[in-house]
């Protein structure tokens, strides 16, 4: 086992097979396990020391520079698009095919059309180009590997003192930030009806691309995570799949433009009940503040904060099996 594998493990830069290999090693090598613990603590401490800088407003000078730079990049990009239309068109076509296969009608929502499309690019070109830009590589990770990474990430962070990268104080900011990391609009569903409230989120580099991880907590401090990623290339409907490893259970599914994995220490029924609540909230979209969305998820890049708990949940909530040390 190489030293670099140990670091890659700590930094979440190993694939599932690599992680299993390292974990096997760690089980037998106490010294290596101590190093992993120390390195993780260092990571957490660095975040504790410096993350406050993320929450400060940019200030007038940086905001001004950001705006100028953004406009400049828009111009540069628009010019390139105009020059290389055939390439864009080809790429856009394949992306459209892919998206059609994944749930259809997605482009029609227009959520990825820039708020102010550059004047030199006609709308039909601008939209697919933008989509192509956020779908950089069509690799072939499976939905299962996505779910496994989500479960790993859950084990990794759910019991950490620094469990989230950004807190849920400002849900708009959290959703916007994760949408940007993911390249697609995402939002945290309100799970108050299940007894879980959002405490924050983080973005994770995984083999299947960036994954947004939302973390929720119950009053008795049990935690569940909802990971959201771009769908793997193996096409799946919204059918739920279930997996369990140790006492960590996952439900995962792909719907529309996104894959989801709900992970926590639950038995199957309890997790299923929560998964149904998540599914329902996702379908109804982020809080219908200005006007309720018409049966389609609202796709604004700035979803309003989650609504009060008013929606029905299919199954009754009785969390008796939380926090069990071993379930199977």
């Amino acid at each position: 086992m190489r030293d670099s594998d140990l670091h890659a493990y700590v930094d979440g830069q190993l694939d599932v097979a690599g992680r299993i290999e390292v974990e096997t090693w760690l089980a037998e090598d106490e010294e290596a396990a101590r190093r992993v613990d120390a390195y993780r603590s260092q990571n957490a401490a660095l975040h504790a020391l410096f993350d406050s800088a993320l929450n400060e407003p940019l200030g007038p000078r940086l905001t001004d520079l950001a705006e100028q730079l953004g406009n400049r990049l828009d111009t540069v990009k628009a010019r390139r698009n105009r020059w290389s239309q055939p390439a864009w068109t080809r790429l856009a076509a394949s992306v459209v095919l892919l998206l059609a296969g994944l749930g259809g009608g997605w482009l029609g929502h227009g959520q990825l059309i820039p708020l102010s499309a550059p004047a030199v690019v006609s709308a039909p070109v601008a939209a697919p180009a933008q989509v192509a830009a956020v779908t950089p590589a069509l690799e072939r990770p499976t939905l299962l590997s996505f779910a496994e990474e989500a479960a790993q990430a859950h084990s990794f962070y759910a019991h950490s003192r620094f469990e989230v990268e950004m807190g849920a104080d400002d849900q708009d900011a959290l959703n916007n930030w994760l949408s940007e990391r993911l390249g697609k609009p995402v939002f945290a569903p309100d799970l108050a009806t299940t007894g879980y409230r959002l405490i924050g989120g983080r973005s994770l580099p995984t083999d299947s691309g960036t994954v947004a991880q939302y973390m929720y907590q119950s009053d008795d401090t049990n935690r569940l995570t909802l990971s959201v990623g771009v769908p793997p290339s193996d096409k799946q409907g919204p059918t739920f799949s279930y997996a369990k490893r140790g006492d960590i259970a996952s439900f995962y599914w792909t719907e529309g433009a996104l894959s989801y994995a709900l992970v926590g220490r639950f038995d199957r029924d309890r997790l299923m009940a929560i998964a149904q609540a998540v599914h329902q909230k996702l379908k109804s979209g982020p809080a219908p503040r200005p006007a309720p969305p018409q049966s389609q998820p609202a796709q604004e890049t700035r979803p309003p904060p989650a609504p009060p708990a008013e929606q029905m949940v299919p199954a009754p909530v009785n969390g008796t099996d939380q926090n069990r040390p071993k379930a199977s």
Partner: protein, 173 residues
């Protein structure tokens, strides 16, 4: 708003976090970010849409920083370690004990050679992939790995002396 707007804003807050960890003095760090953005603005033509905007910005800032350090070599540091250490911790609702540990962590971080500190911060704080770090710093990936390894071991050994972060922050099962 520019379509790069939100993404840029996110990256700029990351640049500022990294800068503050790198140069300690708050206003100096903010100046570094500003200068990097001004440089990016003048080189926007060279940015390829669809490529990694974050890595591009960090690369530019790294180069600006290297030039600054070079031109300021020999000038004494103007900020005391204590000022910089206590500032970020004060804004956190942490207890006294945690604050001291983080202060210790900060002090140990300061003792690392600059090139090790850069790698550690880009990986551990900014969550960059190793090959991204190699691009930003313009060094081979093997160099990234060896600097990372040396930085973490040095921190671990130095922190183990004062019963600090390593034990207290350990995951609670």
């Amino acid at each position: 708003m520019s379509k790069f707007g939100i993404e840029l804003e996110v990256h700029i807050t990351s640049l500022r976090r990294y800068a503050r960890a790198l140069v300690r003095d708050r206003s100096e760090a903010d100046d570094l970010v500003q200068e990097a953005l001004a440089r990016a603005l003048s080189r926007a033509d060279k940015f390829l849409a669809g490529t990694n905007l974050r890595a591009w910005l960090f690369t530019i800032m790294h180069n600006v920083h290297v030039n600054q350090v070079r031109s300021r070599a020999g000038r004494p540091a103007e900020v005391t370690v204590e000022d910089a250490v206590l500032e970020p911790s004060l804004s956190r609702p942490a207890n006294q004990e945690a604050r001291v540990e983080l202060g210790e962590m900060m002090r140990v971080l300061e003792t690392l050679p600059a090139e090790q500190r850069q790698v550690l911060l880009l990986v551990a704080l900014e969550g960059m992939k190793y090959d991204e770090v190699a691009k930003v710093l313009d060094v081979p990936i093997g160099t990234v790995m060896s600097r990372l390894s040396r930085a973490r071991e040095a921190m671990r050994v130095r922190l183990a002396g004062g019963a600090g972060v390593a034990t207290t922050l350990r995951r609670v099962k």
